[in-house]
């Protein structure tokens, strides 16, 4: 598996977490603001990790 495929797996994780955070944020009847914080925080974290993977890939490619 090449870099891009690993990158997209991490992006897919971030996307699912972001969607769930949005569901909890925009469906008031669920009434779970903690889920928004945790799933939203997780989505941001995995986006950061995806960026790290991309940056490392670029650096290795240049090297």
């Amino acid at each position: 598996m090449k870099m891009n495929e690993e990158l997209w797996l991490v992006v897919a994780i971030a996307a699912v977490w972001a969607v769930l955070a949005a569901v909890y944020a925009f469906v008031p009847s669920l009434g779970m603001p903690g889920y928004v914080r945790v799933w939203g925080g997780g989505a941001v974290l995995f986006l950061v990790l995806a960026w790290v993977l991309a940056a490392v890939g670029r650096k290795a490619h240049r090297g």
Partner: protein, 564 residues
Amino acid sequence: MDTISTNVTPVGAPSRLTARVTALPTPDKALLKLLFGAALLALVLGLAGGFVTALARARALSLFPDDAYRILTLHGVSVFFYWLYLIQAALLLVLAAAENGRGLALRPLAWLGAALMLAGFGFSEWVSTTGTPLLYDGSPELAADDPRSVGFFALGYLLLSGGLVASAASGIATVLQPRLRGEADAFTSIGFALFAWAGFLVVSAIAATNAFLPGVLWALGAGPFPADHGTEWHILFHNLHYLPLMATVLVWYVLTEHLTGVTSIHGARMSKIVFAAYLVFVPPTSLYHMFLEPNLSEGVRVVGSLLSLFVSVPTLAAFAIIVSSLEASARARGATGLFGWMRGLPWDNPAMANMGWAVVNMMVGITFAFVLIQEKLAPMLSDTFFVPGYFHFFAVGVLTQTFLAALMVILPALGGGTLWRPTVLRRMPVLVTVGLLVFGAAGIAAGFMGVPRRVFDVSYGGMAPAAWPVLMALVGVGATVFAVAISVTVYGVVRSLLSRCAPVAVEAPVVDWRAGARGVGAAPAWTGPASVAALVAAMYVFTIVAFQLIQSLPIIAIGGGHGH
């Protein structure tokens, strides 16, 4: 039938894992020994607390209520948090360092993480011993008049969380090193799993902060009483269902390669997808924790029920990959018989025995986990002894035995000499499983009959059903058996850690599957898929049994939002 290339290390080849662990820099070895030692101390404290708790539930010991809850708190805090998370941090770091081949990156951050986690360990044990016993979920409602206990208890978990973040950052930086050096253009399957697992550790630290920071702020007079603690705890607890299981499966991957020389026949891509699936399935499956809310809408219940079916998909997929890879490799080398191919596995090695019996415990535990999360059964069972009855299959049978198996391989390579009495240690997993089966069968039956959890005197002035004390006595018997067997294993591992013998050269105990090489895939390998099918059938059977048993009881229960 087409065949594919085999993935078995040649007999006599040195183990990549142990060779790399042995070659780690001295500061890394010192850090890892510290973390492994602290994790084992937490396990010993938790074992002692759990053993006393089980004896008290069996009425073999009589404790004052405060003492009983204090011991139950120490048991839960020590095992569920500090054993499981110290050992995960240590395993993440050692496996990442082995993957890198040159030790840890961001070493000061790894040491900072260890210091924070050990400080948290000290705080949590101290306040659990001297303060109001809050049980392992640290519910502020139990100490509304004692903010000091709530604050220090929450601070302990926050320090643990901070330490996990620092350790995870070091782990991530470490697995990226081979790519930064230009030695690799992609992760190995283990490298990717470590990368994802480290991210998951950070998310769990976010969830812990979300749950416990309000308690600290309230204790400092800087925030309102954390009335929503139960809900926030559920979010953390949901993450904590998956995190150690992901670690367990990762350790199975590593140990399978180390003990048998077999890697996945399905390729690294499939393994990476399975490890990513753990993280993909975490948020959507969280809805089932809300089944205990009496006002939950019917639509959310239906969606939650459907999504809960995905809970075990990654674990079962990883299990099927490992088993089918082993079976196909064995059959390619002449192994025969429906289960006869397993005879070639290195069962004399205690690590293999621990891992094998951990799989058996996982199958039993998953079966009853699915019974518990049924939308109609969750409210009736979540506050009963059904919960400790089934989850000890996971906590002890799967997680603890797997992590101890990893220690049996890693500690001698760290320079601790040879493993203490392997012939004794390899027999312990059977005893652990027998004890768990007695404990689990009695506990689950007691749960079906309504025996409450976290209540030490269930005699109710002689009004309780006659079967209750009998079942709780069996719980005590089972707990004694598995506690003694785990204690022997822990003793052996600690002896290996403390041994001052010179390290011995370790060769990978590769299985003897050389004869009659036909190529992997020439003979079908059905054990993995067949086991999953049998598991699904068992889930159906026990769910039907649970419904019938509960409908036969003259009670109706509505859950109160308890944290199971």
